[in-house]
Point group: C2
């Protein structure tokens, strides 16, 4: 039909005819059928967002902001966003989603390091961008914050304050971000010739509870740290809680830094010194990269590491 031309905004239609079609569409209340279109074009016009640790990741407000930023752009491009979480889906699920043509591409959020599904996805040639992580799989893009440098900044600031025994609470080390942050910690202290023995490192899992436990652990040490960097704000807040209960003054007796700058970071006492990531930018770049790959599968992968921003507030001070 000529209808198709009108709907798709082709130019070669007589204005008068176009009017007539438009009026008819209005009258009948016509909407194009997405499935038919998808079938014909072999494109779903939707992309999947993969959350590996759905619950935990979504609980992190910065993931939400990221998804929000992406949703905005995708809606603008008339793409739908389908949300998939691996907790509830077999490993093969992501590739299938693509092969069934339900999505044209995937945004994979913070994949676990041992995840094999990224390889499957790459093998199947699914247009994919990794966010909050990295990959060197052929053709695959990624956008990641500079977690390493962020921790370096944090530590430099803390060292300038005069600290020499600095503890560290990791996130879930199955996630690349967490290991990057830990690596930065080790490297920086080594370079500064400061002690960074394993006793100063507490393996957390991003939860407030872990931060809480971490403080109790640090208090058992003969040589306690005068300062602790937590791999996210939730853990820092948990640590704050434990410190309060144990009568450890912050920052008086212990300096404390977080990561992410969640809303709550400035509503706890003391306000958290932390690190902020440019989430809107990350989201935008990820979507652009993915859409580029979808439209041109041979395009070079987009790979970018975006700088972070130190947010100095109250939770760090001079060592006692």
């Amino acid at each position: 039909m000529t209808v198709s031309r009108v709907i798709n905004g082709q130019t070669n239609v007589r204005p008068e005819t176009r009017e007539r079609v438009l009026r008819a569409i209005e009258e009948v209340g016509y909407s194009p059928n997405a499935a038919a279109r998808a079938l014909n074009r072999n494109k779903a016009h939707s992309i999947g967002i993969v959350l590996t640790q759905f619950q935990q990741t979504l609980s992190a407000p910065y993931f939400v902001q990221l998804i929000f930023a992406m949703e905005k752009l995708l809606t603008w491009y008339k793409y739908d966003l389908v949300l998939v979480s691996s907790s509830h889906r077999p490993e093969r699920g992501y590739v299938d989603l693509y092969r069934e043509r339900k999505v044209d591409g995937l945004v994979v959020m913070a994949p676990p390091v041992e995840a094999t599904y990224l390889d499957d996805v790459a093998d199947a040639g699914v247009p994919t961008v990794v966010v909050h992580g990295r990959t060197d799989l052929p053709g695959m893009s990624f956008v990641d914050a500079d977690n390493y440098d962020a921790v370096v900044q944090l530590l430099q600031y803390i060292m300038e304050l005069g600290h020499e025994r600095i503890g560290f609470v990791t996130g879930d080390l199955n996630v690349l971000n967490a290991t990057d942050r830990l690596r930065a910690y080790r490297d920086t202290l080594a370079e500064a010739r400061l002690p960074a023995d394993e006793t100063l490192i507490f393996r957390g899992d991003w939860t407030a509870r872990a931060g809480y436990d971490a403080l109790e652990y640090f208090l058992t040490l003969k040589e306690r740290p005068t300062s602790v960097v937590c791999s996210n704000d939730h853990m820092a807040i948990g640590m704050l809680k434990a410190a309060h209960e144990q009568g450890v003054r912050i920052p008086g007796q212990l300096s404390l830094a977080g990561f992410d700058d969640i809303d709550m970071a400035s509503f706890v006492t003391p306000m958290l010194t932390t690190v902020r990531q440019p989430l809107d930018q990350i989201g935008r770049e990820a979507v652009d990269a993915l859409l580029t790959t979808i439209h041109n599968p041979d395009a070079l992968p987009y790979r970018n590491i975006v700088p972070t921003h130190l947010v100095v507030r109250e939770s760090c001070g001079q060592p006692a």
Copy 2:
């Protein structure tokens, strides 16, 4: 083809043939095309989750848990979940989504009271369930927590502690939940013949900042409340912050209650007395209701108000 029968698990296929087909499928690496199937069956096999205030709602951890619960069930039923936020989409968008057969139904989260789109959705006959809100639109289901009763419980507890001047911080009053909570507050105090003048009510917007501002406001009053109920935990935590800055001891000088029982609620000092909603249950009921309506459009709407649970911790005490 017989292939179709095999894939759809029809019984009338000779086992041997089935085997042969399965093997072929494996070899060729065949996946059924979702678009073709959708076109033929006139069903997308996916449902849309509508977040009106995407950012704010998703920032609330309980929304995340709700979505998580729903995603789990939907994946089980082999439905896809498409996420749509109204901030980025024209009002008509939801109905279109359905008419284009991109989704078979909608879960609408916490619709604003003045939202007209619910009527549009009802007019178009879109199978819909409202979560965190209510509706009497024909055929439309809803699952809501008993916000009213939750506040009643909270107030009863606080009154038993001996409080007589009780303040209240509302959420965004464009959301039904917020007005329900406020109404419960007014009714309960009236019934108890306690003062509930408008000066005791602060209009917040769910953010920690609002709670912070609310405390500063209450301190300007000649007759200050000895206790305050906040419509969510974020605001309570903001108020905690302000109280700390102003030297107001909690619960010593001021008792404070929140709502939602977010993770952080037990990691602030003092730990928040608050209210918990059965989120998994709400999510499950919503999905079941929606799927029922999708499969049988004439089914009676499912409408349920689920009870909440008072969580007593440390932030409330006897009045000074």
